[in-house]
Symmetry: C2
DNA sequence: GTTTATACGGAGGACGTCTCCGTTTTTCAA
DNA sequence: TTGAAAAACGGAGACGTCCTCCGTATAAAC
């Protein structure tokens, strides 16, 4: 029943933590350079370790993504805490979305990680997207409660829109374009008349 | 100099056209079923032909996508002709975007094809994206000229937004979400006050 | 130093892409 | 018809990546 109770108390080997760290550093560098296309063999080689070791530490590519970008996600969570205190809730929401885009702009592999997260069949979805959707929902809820924004879009939809648009990273001025798209989208959500007839 | 002049006048073989057609039918089915993940081996097998024949007809995966979806693109071009006559230019633009989304909804592989088109390094970009951007630009220009829409977004940006958002196809109600996103975006483009301060 | 649990490494199988060239099919001229 | 030339076909095989498996190496415990 209780696996923890009858496990021998042998310390975990010292090389494990060291190798894990090496792998993460190598992966971060590889993803930054080659984005989603980086091969895992290359990551292992860069870390000076065998491919088998990589797979033991991170059984799937998604697990590796998650470990590499977990810290960044936490940063976005912290930022949403700060921005919940901004006087204008729409502005707070806007700033958070811009920060998310900024982050993806500097980390090539991150977009790939999020794209995987968009696929509901992968467990990474629950962690990355779940966490971020929750934060976004908080900011969005605040703006809606204030009466400034309508309820046209859900937090999840907004997040997916950002992720989707960021997939077009290879365009010349994609970052500015995406930010303008987001701003325009927010403008569209502001309580006013509607452009779209129902038919 | 003139390659056409001194080529022998032998007719092109009759099997070529037949096999090309078979490959297209098989590819269309395979892409519809498996999306971007369909293997080219499977396409060739489904067509009852060798893999070598597939590659001779369509040297790259993108070439095959292009051939499979060319007709659909032409349909969108024709639709934009029709919609240029609609009284309300914003409504015309909106309908065209919805039609594009509808089309992607029924053809799994099409989104993959467009996503490739978003990568400027591939020649398919010039054909698919170029054509569609031109049509969208026409509809958008008309709406801007009427004074109803501001010039916040370019046709290319709008198109890329649609493509990006459609990449999230695996979500439960993605199609409705994307359409609502587009409607909201259009609302945001309508000439009114702005939500986003400059800082 | 010996034992033992644990981790490492990389060979190898599976699978997809793409090429190359011997074989087959089609066209054309006689 | 039939033979030869041109053109297309087919699939074996080289290559690259993913991922697993298990013999070997190493750290911890005693």
């Amino acid at each position: 029943m209780d696996a923890a109770a009858n496990r021998p108390k042998r310390k975990t080997r010292s090389d494990v933590a060291r190798n894990r760290e090496r792998l993460l550093i190598a992966a971060k560098a590889a993803f930054a350079q080659d984005g989603a296309r980086a091969t895992l063999d290359a990551v292992a080689r860069k870390a000076g370790l065998g491919i088998g070791t990589l797979y033991r530490h991170f059984p799937t590519r998604e697990a590796l993504y998650e470990a590499v970008y977990r810290r960044d996600i936490e940063q976005l969570v912290a930022l949403s805490d700060d921005l919940s205190a901004v006087a204008d809730p729409v502005e707070g929401l806007r700033r958070w979305l811009h920060a998310a885009i900024d982050m993806m702009a500097t980390k090539k592999g991150m977009i790939a990680a999020f794209a995987l997260g968009a696929d509901k069949t992968l467990p990474i979805s629950a962690r990355f997207n779940g966490t971020l959707t929750a934060e976004l929902d908080r900011l969005l809820g605040r703006a809606v409660d204030s009466g400034r924004l309508g309820e046209r879009m859900t937090a999840e939809e907004l997040l997916l829109a950002v992720i989707g648009m960021c997939m077009l990273r290879d365009q010349p001025h994609w970052q500015a374009s995406v930010m303008r798209l987001i701003d325009t989208l927010l403008d569209g959500m502001i309580q006013k008349g509607r452009a779209a007839p129902d038919g």
